[in-house]
Symmetry: C2
Subunit: 210 residues, 2 copies
Amino acid sequence: MAKTTSNKTIDNSTEEKIKAAAQKVFHQKGYAATRTRDIALEAGINLALLNYYFRSKQKLFNLIMEAALIKFMMSLKMVFNDEKTDLQTKVERICARYIDLLIKEPELPLFIMNELRHHPQFIADKIEPLDILSNSVFATQFKEAVKKGSIRPTHMLHFIMNILGLAVFPFIAQPILKNIGKLNENQFKKLMMERKKLIPQWVKLMMNPT
Amino acid sequence: MAKTTSNKTIDNSTEEKIKAAAQKVFHQKGYAATRTRDIALEAGINLALLNYYFRSKQKLFNLIMEAALIKFMMSLKMVFNDEKTDLQTKVERICARYIDLLIKEPELPLFIMNELRHHPQFIADKIEPLDILSNSVFATQFKEAVKKGSIRPTHMLHFIMNILGLAVFPFIAQPILKNIGKLNENQFKKLMMERKKLIPQWVKLMMNPT
DNA sequence: GTCTATATACGGATAGAC
DNA sequence: GTCTATCCGTATATAGAC
């Protein structure tokens, strides 16, 4: 990061340091439990400076939330609109991308799901425009496959819920699962890596017509 | 509720009214975003009275959180320890119980998962003692089925994650799913009712040995 | 038991010096 | 741009009257 080939500082700027700190604290604690003082401390700067750069806690949060939503929804959007891949490949790619992402940032989905309840404006502002279902290559391929009888006739949303439920839920329920399974961090990650291969196989079996 | 046949008031007591209000507000907003004033208002009583009965926000929260955890984990515990049902029936019962529960209380899982991050003591205090896996009838039946080759050899936790992911995740991601699927409340509920039948079938297909 | 009034603390935001 | 000091609203909790 640090500097580009030009002499313009890009990533170690105070602004970026605050954003990075804000992401860490907001993702961990959520909006309501976060203290702007904690963010300042984490960023190694003063509270006043945070307000100098971002005006308010809410405005800073909006930036972080928007980035999180894009990170979370982008995989879906990219993979679902790829003309070059078939349905089964799309499932594989979705699983791989989500599990890789969530092993790096396990707090992302719980943060997003939780904050969406309290800041409903993001649903309209950021998710609505993605329009993943109706006009995607995926939607076309799915309907086609149902028509041909190569997968069982199911509401497309069931299919999405299944993939995301299988891939994302374990990260949301991580504390409970680690406890009932008596797993440490590494054992949990290992299971998640296994699921990258397993989920696409399972989904295929689930959708196979009788 | 109101009164029993005896003349002792049971359920409309002030204490119960406060608890009911606290559950509603805590479940909706989470601990950090909840104001004790909101609970008092919701209960139709005064703020001072809340502290008279429960001493502090934290103590009141602990009661609500404990009840939520029991409600959420009890189904698992009961069904998994039933000597009379086989594995497939257990899957059916788990799905039916969770989906019925979550249609009535859709905020329960997100509340629990989110608060468990911030109040880790509950993981040890309340979940640990349930010991669902190692000593349950389910665990025995699962291992037996793997040994017999009637289901494919899989880590038991994958199996649990799959059932819960398929049944619970849609409620956690409800706002996103409603939006990308353009569903209203009733259409969403209808899909969830469908899943009560579908998930056990899917799980069976997933686990069928090749 | 239930209320009104208030003590006390905390958190977001700003003023103003450097 | 960055700091220290501080203002001010808000939230939990309690004191004390009824």
